[in-house]
Amino acid sequence: MRKLLVAGVAAVMAVGAIALTMPSLTTAQNQAKKAEPDSVVAPRLTAADSSNLKGPKQPIFFRHDIHAGQYKIQCQYCHYTVAASSEPGVPSLQTCMGCHLAIGGADSTHRVEIKKLRDAWKEKRPVEWVRIHTLAKHAHFPHMRHIKSLGPNACATCHGDVARMPQVFKVNNVNNMGFCISCHVERKVNRDCTACHY
C-alpha cells in the first residue's frame, strides 16, 4: 500500500516548475517543426518491433527516445512532482493530450499509437502502463532530494539514458542496496540505515 500506483496530479508548485523549465505546448510544436536530424534522431520503429526491444511491452508504444531524445522535452514536463515530492509523478492523460490534441503523428506507425491514446481519452479510460521500477516497501526514496542535489537531469543516474530507449527497460536494479550505497559512498553522503529504512 505504501506507494500507490495511481499518480499524476498537477500541484500548484509543480505548475510553477513547469512554467519555469518546461516548453509550453506551442514551443513543443515549434521544436517538432524545427527538429533537426542530429545524432539523437529516433529510429523508425513500429509497434511490432517492440517485442524485439528490451523492456516490457507497454499498452501504447510510447517512445521516450522521440519525446525526451529527439524533441528534448524535459523529463519534468511529464514527471512533474519529481523535484517536489518523493514520488516523481506519472503524467495524467490530460498532459499527454495537451500536445496530442494537435500532434497526430508524422507517419502511420506513430498515428496508430497516438490514436490509442486519443481513444483512451475519449473513453475516459486511463492507460495502464507496466511498471518498471518498483522500490521495495521497506525502503523510502525521496526523489526530490536527489533532484535537488544532482540537478534536474540526474534521472539517468539511476534510470539509464531513457532518452535513447525506444522502449524503457531496467538498467539498474533499484532494489539492490549496493547500487544506492556505492553512489552514497562515492559522494560521501548519508549512509545511515534510517535514511531510507523506517
Binding site: R2, V12, T81, L93, T95, A136, N190, T194
Partner: protein, 1003 residues
C-alpha cells in the same frame, strides 16, 4: 584457518548463504521482486490539490462527541490517513483525544453498511436501492402525517436546524437525545439561576477545583477543552498550581489526577457542596449581595453535619472548607455520571450555589455561551408513552442508538415495536437498526458537508476530504429528497437540490450578515480555517432565582439491596459508539489498564471479605436484571461500591463490538420521572459463580516497588526549585547515590570510549540529537497519545487472546502505578507515558547479531525492520520494555479491507517475526529534513512534532533537537524536576521526565 573451514560440510557462513539464496528465491515469488507485473495507472485529469507523495490537509470538525473539536485531516493520494487537531480552533487548539483519532476507524470500518436495507416480502431485511429507500421513507412519512417523531443526537448546527424545519414541514416532533446528556446540570441552572442552558467552564482560570463526580477529563462536556484548561491550572509553572479535589465513590481517571480523592457516601455530596458554600459565606465578605438570602439555608450545613452526612472525618471537611474559602477564583463542577443518582439535580443546584457565593460565576463558570443539551432522557420517556398511546406512526432515528443506550428494563423497545414504521440513518447495523424497517446509512463526517456550533462564537465546518468509502447518502440529502417526494408544503419548504447547496445557502446568509463582499472568498477562507471563530461572548449577568434558596440534601433512593452499583462512561467507548473501533478496544482503560473486555471493579477489602480475586466471574443481580463479568480488584473505589464501565455488551454493531463484554445498563431501572437517567441508583447482590476468566490487562505490577519510575516532588520543594534528590533529602528520605564511586569510574571510561567512537563516520557530522521532555505534572494519562501513535505508525492491534499472552504492540503506552492505599494512607495513582527512551548507551543495540538495532547518527535507537531476523535479544535486554515483537502477521490480520486504506504510506508495515518500536516518528523527522533541504535551510525548532506530542491536550510532551541550545526541548529539560527513568542503569535516555508535583501534608 580458511583451509580448515573449506572442509566443513556446512559451516555457519555457508548455511547463511544457502538460507539467503532460498530467502531471495521466495521473495522473488512473493513481493520484493520487480519482475511481478505492476501497473502504473495515471489520472485522467490532474487534481489541483493532491500531489502524490505529499499529504494534503483539510480542515474539518470532529463529530465523535458534542464538543465539536476542529480537525486537520491529513490525506495522502486522496485517502484520509490521520486526524489531528486544528491549531486555530478555540475548542481543542490543535490537539485531539483518542476517540477523535479513532474516528478514522469509523470511516474505514469494515462493518459499515454498503447500502440501504429494507424489509422484503417475507419481513426480512435485505439491501434495497437508494431510490426505493427514499420512496419508502417518503410514503411512510406522508402516511404518518403529523405522527412523525425524529430522534436525533446531532449536536447544534445546520443539520440539527434542518431536522427541526423538516419535521415542522412534514408534521411531527423532534426529540434530541444523547446518552450522558446533561439533564441534571440543565435542571439546576434553571432552578438556581433561571437560565435554560449549560454553563461553560474555564478550568484554566481556577485556583482550586472541586469535582463532584464530574469526570471532566474523560467524557464530561468537552474533555479536550477541559483538559487544556486543567493543564493550565494544575500543571506546575514554577510558582504554584491549583489544587484539585475529586469527590466521588470511585477514583476515575479524573479522580486519579486529583490531589485529593474524597470518597463521600454516594448521595451525600450535596451536603458537602452546601457545607463548602456555608464556609465561603461565613469567611468571605466578597460574596455577591443577593447571596445573603441563602445564609439561612446554608447555616445548617456546619462541618459537623457535613461530616455526619458524608461519612468523612470532620478534619477533612474542615480543611476542605478552609482551603476552598481561601482560593479565588475557584471552580466546583458536578453533573457527571459519577454522581448521577436521583439527587443529582439537587447536587448540581448546590454546586451552582457554591460557585455563586464564591464569586466564580462570570470568572470560571460562564453562561451565555448558548450551550444546550436538548430535550434528553425525559423526552424519550415521553416518546415511549406517546408510542404506547398510538400517537406515533413513524420514527426516524438519526445519530443515536437508543436501543443500546437506554436500559433494557424500560419499555422503549416494546413501545417502538408498536410503531408502524421505523427508520434509522445509522452507518452501522446497530441495535436500533436491527429494530427498524428501513436503514438509510448516512455518510461519515469525513465524506460529507456539514457544520457545527458547539457554543457561541465557534462555527465549525465539516467538509468531505475524500470520495465516500461506501456510496451511501448523507442524512441531510435523504431529508431533502424525501421532502421533495412528499411534495406540497413540505416540498416547497426546501428549495436546495442537495444538502451541500442547503448548507452553502445558510452560510451565504452568514456571509451577508458579516458584510462579506464575495461569498466565494468568504467560503474558501472559512473552509481553510475550518470555520469561523469569534471572540468568546461576554458572559451573561447571572442573578439568583427563587429556587436557589430551596435546596435539600436528602439521601436519594436506591433500588434493590446489596452493594451500590456504579456504571461509568468509559473514556474509550463513550456511550458505546467507540466499541467497534479496534484502536479504542486495544487502548487500555487509563485506570485499570484493561482491554477488549468488561470488568467489575471491587475494593480490595470487600474482595477479601467475599473471598474473591481478580479474574473470578461475579454475577450481579439487581431488580432489573443480572450480568456476569470478571472482577478487577481496584483500591480506588469505596468499600460498598461495585463499578463497571459502560459501552460494551452490544448485541449488534459489527464484528468488533457484537457480543463483546456486557452492558452495565442491563442492571439499571429505567423508571424515573426527573428528566434524566439516574445511573447511580441501583444496589446489586454479588454472587460468586466459581468460574474464572483472565482479565486482559496490560498492567504489569500495579506498584512501583521503589523503582523510581514515576517520581513526584512535594509542591513546597518544587516551588523552591529543588531537584528530586534534594527534595528527598529535605524530607529526610535520603536516597543512596545513584552510582557508587567505582561504578561512576567505569561509566566515565565507557562514556569516553563512546565519545571516541563519535569521531568516525556519519557520527562525526554535525547531526542533530533528538530528545524529548515529558512533564508528568501535566500528563493526565488520557491515552490520546497511544491512539495517535497507532494511527501514525501503522501499529496493528493484536486482540484479546494475544493481550493475555502479553503480546500487545503499543510503542507508546501509559503506565499507571498506585501509591499508598495501605495502612490508612490515601491511595494515589501516578501515570507515565512510556516509549522508547532512545538511550545514548542503549542496551538493545550491542546484542543485535544482525545490526538491525543500531544507533543512528542523530541519536535514535534505529530499528531496521528489513534487517531484523527476530532473535528478540534486544527486547530481552531493554530495561524499559518498549520493544514489541510482531509474533504473527498482525498487520494482515488487523487491517482488513477497507481499514488498510488508513495506513500511513510513509511507514513500513511490519511483517511477522520483526521487532518493532518507537523511533520518535522518524518518518516525520526525515520528512522535515527533506523539506528543509529543498528550502536550503536547517530544520527549525518545532518543524518536527511527533504524533504523541501533537495529540497531547495537556501539552505534556516537548520534542526537539537537544544540540540546539535555544530549542524548547533544551529549555524544558533544564527544569530541576527533570530525571531519567532507571538512571542508575547508565542508559542515558534521550527522554527526560519532569517529576509530578504533589500537594504534600506541608502544603
Amino acid at each position: 584457518m580458511p583451509d580448515e573451514m573449506k572442509h566443513e560440510p556446512l559451516d555457519r557462513r555457508r548455511f547463511l548463504k544457502v538460507v539467503g539464496v532460498a530467502g531471495a528465491g521466495t521473495a522473488a515469488l512473493t513481493g520484493c521482486s520487480t519482475d511481478k507485473v505492476e501497473k502504473l495507472i495515471p489520472y485522467l485529469v490532474q487534481s489541483a490539490d493532491q500531489v502524490p507523495g505529499i499529504p494534503t490537509i483539510y480542515a474539518s470538525t470532529c463529530t465523535e462527541c458534542a464538543a465539536g473539536c476542529g480537525l486537520h485531516v491529513r490525506t495522502r493520494e486522496a485517502r484520509a490517513i490521520k486526524l489531528e487537531g486544528n491549531p486555530q480552533h478555540p475548542v481543542n487548539a490543535g490537539t485531539l483525544c483518542a476517540r477523535g483519532q479513532a474516528s478514522l476507524q469509523g470511516l474505514y470500518n469494515p462493518d459499515r453498511l454498503t447500502g440501504p436495507m429494507g424489509r422484503n416480502g417475507v419481513g426480512k431485511m435485505s439491501e434495497v436501492l437508494w431510490n426505493e429507500a427514499i420512496d419508502q421513507l417518503a410514503a411512510a412519512v406522508k402516511q404518518a402525517g403529523s405522527k412523525v417523531a425524529v430522534v436525533t443526537g446531532t449536536p447544534a448546527g445546520t443539520m440539527s436546524d434542518l431536522i427541526d424545519q423538516w419535521t415542522a414541514a412534514v408534521g411531527g416532533r423532534v426529540i434530541r437525545y444523547q446518552a450522558f446528556d446533561h439533564g441534571p446540570v440543565q435542571l439546576a441552572a434553571k432552578k438556581v439561576f433561571g437560565v435554560d442552558e449549560l454553563p461553560h467552564h474555564d478550568f484554566g482560570a481556577a485556583k482550586y477545583i472541586v469535582s463532584f463526580g464530574a469526570d471532566f477529563l474523560e467524557t464530561w462536556h468537552g474533555p479536550i477543552e477541559n483538559q487544556r484548561g486543567f493543564a493550565a491550572a494544575h500543571g506546575f509553572d514554577g510558582k504554584g498550581m491549583a489544587k484539585f479535589v475529586y469527590v466521588g465513590t470511585r477514583m476515575s481517571l479524573t479522580g486519579m489526577n486529583a490531589d485529593q480523592w474524597v470518597s463521600a457516601a454516594s448521595g451525600s455530596e450535596t451536603s458537602l457542596a452546601l457545607g463548602l458554600a456555608n464556609a465561603v459565606l461565613a469567611s468571605r465578605s466578597d460574596a455577591p449581595a443577593d447571596a445573603a438570602q441563602l445564609k439561612g439555608m446554608l447555616a445548617a450545613y456546619t462541618v459537623e453535619k457535613v461530616a455526619q452526612d458524608t461519612g468523612l472525618s470532620a478534619d477533612v471537611v474542615r480543611t476542605l472548607c478552609a482551603e476552598f474559602a481561601k482560593a479565588a477564583p475557584s471552580l466546583a463542577v458536578a453533573g457527571g455520571i459519577g454522581a448521577q443518582h436521583r439527587g443529582a439535580a439537587e447536587l448540581c443546584a448546590a454546586v451552582n450555589v457554591l460557585n455563586y457565593v464564591a464569586g466564580n460565576v462570570g470568572k470560571t463558570v460562564h453562561f451565555g455561551f448558548g450551550m444546550g443539551s436538548g430535550s434528553g432522557y425525559g423526552a424519550m420517556l415521553e416518546l415511549e408513552r406517546a408510542m404506547n398511546a398510538g400517537e406515533i406512526d413513524a420514527v426516524i432515528f438519526h445519530d443515536t442508538n437508543p436501543l443500546y443506550t437506554l436500559p433494557k428494563s424500560g419499555g422503549f423497545r416494546a413501545a417502538l415495536a408498536k410503531v408502524r414504521f421505523r427508520a434509522t440513518t445509522s452507518m452501522f447495523w446497530d441495535e436500533t437498526a436491527a429494530a427498524c424497517d428501513l436503514v438509510l446509512p448516512s455518510l461519515h463526517s469525513l465524506e460529507r458537508w456539514d457544520d457545527s456550533r458547539p457554543r457561541a462564537g465557534v462555527h465549525g465546518l465539516v467538509q468531505p476530504v475524500m470520495e465516500p468509502v461506501f456510496k451511501n447518502m448523507a442524512a441531510g440529502d435523504v431529508l431533502l429528497q424525501v421532502a421533495r417526494k412528499i411534495g406540497g408544503a413540505a416540498g416547497a419548504a426546501f428549495t436546495a437540490p442537495t444538502y451541500e447547496a442547503h448548507l452553502k445557502g445558510i452560510w451565504a446568509g452568514v456571509a451577508k450578515a458579516r458584510g462579506a463582499a464575495d461569498f466565494d472568498t468568504f467560503w474558501r477562507g472559512a473552509l481553510a480555517n475550518g470555520g469561523l471563530y469569534d471572540a468568546a461572548p461576554a458572559p451573561a449577568t447571572i442573578k439568583l432565582a427563587a429556587g436557589a434558596g430551596d435546596i435539600k440534601s436528602e439521601k436519594p433512593a436506591f433500588d434493590g439491596e446489596g452493594l451500590l452499583f456504579a456504571p461509568y462512561p468509559s473514556s474509550m467507548y463513550h456511550d458505546g459508539r467507540g466499541a467497534n473501533r479496534p484502536w479504542l478496544l486495544e487502548n487500555p482503560d487509563p485506570v485499570t489498564r484493561i482491554t477488549w473486555q468488561s470488568w467489575i471493579e471491587i475494593n480490595p477489602e470487600t474482595a477479601r471479605e467475599m473471598d474473591i480475586r481478580e479474574g473470578e466471574i461475579l454475577r450481579l443481580n439487581s431488580p432489573a436484571g443480572s450480568i456476569e463479568a470478571s472482577v478487577y480488584v481496584y483500591p480506588g473505589i469505596a468499600r460498598d461500591v461495585l463499578a463497571m464501565p459502560l459501552g460494551l455488551g452490544h448485541t449488534e454493531y459489527g464484528r468488533y463490538a457484537q457480543g463483546r463484554g456486557v452492558n452495565a445498563l442491563d442492571l439499571l431501572s429505567a423508571k424515573d420521572g426527573q428528566g434524566f437517567l439516574p445511573y447511580l441508583s441501583t444496589r446489586v447482590k454479588a454472587e460468586k459463580t466459581g468460574r474464572f476468566r483472565k482479565v486482559a490487562k496490560t498492567e504489569g505490577n500495579p506498584r512501583e516497588l521503589g523503582r523510581g519510575i514515576t517520581e513526584a516532588i512535594p509542591l513546597a520543594a518544587a516551588v523552591k526549585g529543588l531537584t528530586i534528590q534534594q527534595a528527598y533529602q529535605a524530607a529526610g528520605k535520603g536516597e543512596h547515590e545513584v552510582n557508587p564511586e567505582r561504578e561512576a569510574e567505569a561509566i566515565k571510561g565507557f562514556r569516553e570510549g563512546q565519545l571516541e567512537e563519535r569521531r568516525y563516520g556519519a557520527y562525526a557530522l554535525d547531526n542533530p540529537q533528538w530528545g524529548m521532555v515529558i512533564d508528568l505534572a501535566r500528563c493526565t494519562g488520557c491515552s490520546a497519545c497511544v491512539t495517535a501513535c497507532s494511527a501514525e505508525n501503522n501499529i496493528p492491534w493484536v486482540g484479546e487472546e494475544d493481550i493475555f499472552r502479553g503480546r500487545e504492540l503499543s510503542w507508546m503506552r501509559i503506565e499507571r502505578y498506585f501509591e499508598g492505599g495501605e495502612d490508612g494512607e490515601p491511595i494515589k495513582a501516578r501515570v507515565i507515558p512510556m516509549l522508547c527512551q532512545q538511550c545514548d548507551a542503549a542496551p538493545c543495540e550491542p546484542v543485535c547479531p544482525v545490526y538491525a538495532a543500531y544507533h543512528t547518527a542523530d541519536g535514535l535507537n534505529g530499528q531496521v525492520y528489513n534487517r531484523c531476523v527476530g532473535t528478540r535479544y534486544c527486547a530481552n535486554n531493554c530495561p524499559y520494555k518498549v520493544r514489541y515483537y510482531n509474533w504473527y502477521a498482525y498487520a494482515k490480520r488487523a487491517f482488513v479491507e477497507p481499514l488498510n486504506l488508513q495506513l500511513n504510506p510513509d511507514v513500513t508495515v511490519r511483517a511477522r517475526g520483526v521487532m518493532e518500536k518507537c523511533t520518535f516518528c522518524i518518518q516525520r523527522i526525515r520528512g522535515a529534513q527533506n523539506t528543509a533541504r529543498l528550502e536550503d535551510r536547517a530544520v527549525a525548532d518545532g518543524d518536527v512534532v511527533t504524533a504523541c506530542a501533537q495529540a497531547c491536550a495537556s501539552g505534556a510532551i516537548t520534542f526537539g533537537n537537544v544540540k540546539d541550545p535555544a530549542s524548547r526541548v533544551v529549555q524544558a529539560a533544564k527544569n530541576p524536576r527533570g530525571y531519567h527513568v532507571l538512571e542508575e542503569l547508565n542508559t542515558r535516555p534521550a527522554v527526560t521526565y519532569l517529576a509530578r508535583v504533589e500537594y504534600g501534608s506541608e502544603a
